[in-house]
Amino acid sequence: MKLTGNCKISKNGVFLDGEFQKQLQPVDENWKKEIYSKLAIDYPKFHKMDALAKMAFLSVEILTTVSNIDKFKDSEIALIFANNSSSQNSDLKYIHSYNVKGSPSPSLFVYTLPNILTGELAIRHKWYGENCFFIEEKFDVEFFLEQVKFYFKKGAKTCLCGWVNSFEDIEECLVFNIENKGTNDTILKEQLLTLYNQ
């Protein structure tokens, strides 16, 4: 298995393949919208997404500007995402909508499952292969690689993985692409841990 690309975003900035992207450096609190504007993307649905989906969307947009993932058929691309906060931010907003504001909000309800973000990515990029979303206690490299191996056995040629969290003051997203070739697992694990801790 080989790491073929990665992108990490947070309010502190964007790292693409480990390199800080100065031109995408956000300066204000509304940092996700700022990065969206700097990317000059025209995708109005972005504004409706919750923070989880926005971060995954932006990370993958940035990653796909340099990755060769499009060389694969969409059925050969598996999406494997995880976090440890599920969709709690949206869950709480949804509860607020009916407890305080008086009526349950359909547009909030849509995002009360974290795997909606994999659907958003699938729609945006027309990737209709396997996708899954797991809730894990922490970023677990071993777990990701187990899932990657599973999907390679099922016919995937590349796995786009992501760890994306949005809860209270934590907003983080790391996406990385793994292909079924080359590098041994030990090196790959070290690479991924280094990226996560960067």
Partner: protein, 83 residues
């Protein structure tokens, strides 16, 4: 009327949870569904709630929605006519 449009834009942002947007991002005559704001059928439900809660207007015929929710202009005109 312009006050109503400004209020409507604020209410749309609040009701539809478009946290990133400001009223100035929404043009009076821009389509709300499809291209413009990229809204869909889920959001149409939000508009129905918005009209009922804020203006006491109930849309009796759902088929009217397409025309009423076309833009901030059409929404404001409908409210002015029916409030």
């Amino acid at each position: 009327m312009s006050d109503l449009k400004q209020t409507l834009k604020e209410q749309i942002i609040e009701q539809l949870n478009l946290e990133d947007l400001t009223p100035s991002d929404i043009q009076d005559d821009a389509p709300l569904f499809g291209e413009g704001l990229g809204l869909d059928s889920i959001d149409a439900l939000e508009f129905i709630v918005l009209l009922e809660q804020n203006y006491g207007i109930r849309i009796a015929d759902p088929s009217e929605g397409k025309e009423i929710f076309q833009s901030v202009n059409s929404l404001a005109a409908y409210i002015e006519k029916n409030k």
